[in-house]
């Protein structure tokens, strides 16, 4: 096993932690829904990762490793405190962008409020797969569950969001497919129907 100290000439993987801070903060916020709690969670994660760096296999996905520590810390804190620290209408809501959606489709604020109401496990699955670009495989490993479980959490999370936002697949098809339809219609060669 290789030493982690940079004294021996090997790069210290811990130097890489700083690069992952922005995404760790985003993931932490999606779990805690509270800016101050999110940063405390990131701080605890950094300290743990620093001290457990021997458990990290160089060359593997450091972000997934850090996210695993972060979520384990989140759930173990939550078990310890036995209380819900969600602050759905308070500080999380304050961080929301107030500007209207550029095309008026889905108001961002409504979306974030609906998102904050999902079960933790659905929120994290959606963020990992839908936003942070994790593969289903990495997301499953990060959460310590089977790939199928992640897929079903993503699907249930999406369905719940749609329900909370009073959307259904048909309505939204109508809204977003107008442009597609226009293109499709425009591509029909003139005279096609008269042939």
């Amino acid at each position: 096993m290789s030493a982690v100290k940079s004294l021996d000439g090997n790069p210290d993987p811990r130097d890489e932690i700083v690069e992952h801070l922005p995404s760790m903060r985003a993931f932490a916020l999606s779990l805690t829904r509270n800016g101050a709690a999110a940063d405390d969670l990131v701080q605890d994660t950094v300290v743990k990762a620093w001290n457990k760096i021997d458990h990290f296999e160089p060359g593997t996905n450091m972000r997934a490793w850090l996210f695993t520590i972060l979520r384990n810390t989140f759930y173990s804190d939550k078990r310890k405190s036995r209380r819900e620290v969600a602050d759905v209408d308070g500080s999380f809501a304050e961080t929301l962008s107030e500007k209207p959606h550029h095309d008026g489709r889905l108001a961002m604020r409504d979306f974030e409020e609906a998102f904050a109401r999902l079960a933790d496990e659905q929120r994290e699955a959606l963020i990992l797969v839908g936003a942070s670009g994790f593969s289903y495989e990495d997301a499953a490993e990060t959460c310590g569950v089977a790939i199928g479980t992640i897929k079903s959490r993503v699907n249930r999370g999406r369905a719940r969001l749609a329900e909370l936002l009073h959307l259904n697949a048909d309505d939204s098809m109508e809204m977003t497919d107008k442009a597609t339809m226009a293109v499709v219609n425009g591509m029909i060669p003139p005279g096609r129907f008269s042939a």
């Binding site: 985003a26 950094v46 300290v47 889905l106």
Partner: protein, 48 residues
């Protein structure tokens, strides 16, 4: 008529919004406390 086979519009909207929620924090400046923390951890290491 056959529309191009792709993700449903709903799924697309949800993903677009998820990315926005996430990106907003990713693009924020990381508070100084984290850089200070990493420096502190490094200094402790050096003194071991």
């Amino acid at each position: 008529m056959a529309l191009p086979n792709r993700k449903s519009g709903l799924e697309e909207q949800i993903e677009e919004n998820l990315r926005k929620v996430y990106q907003k924090t990713v693009e924020e400046d990381v508070p100084d406390r984290f850089k200070e923390l990493l420096e502190k951890l490094k200094a402790q290491e050096a003194n071991k």
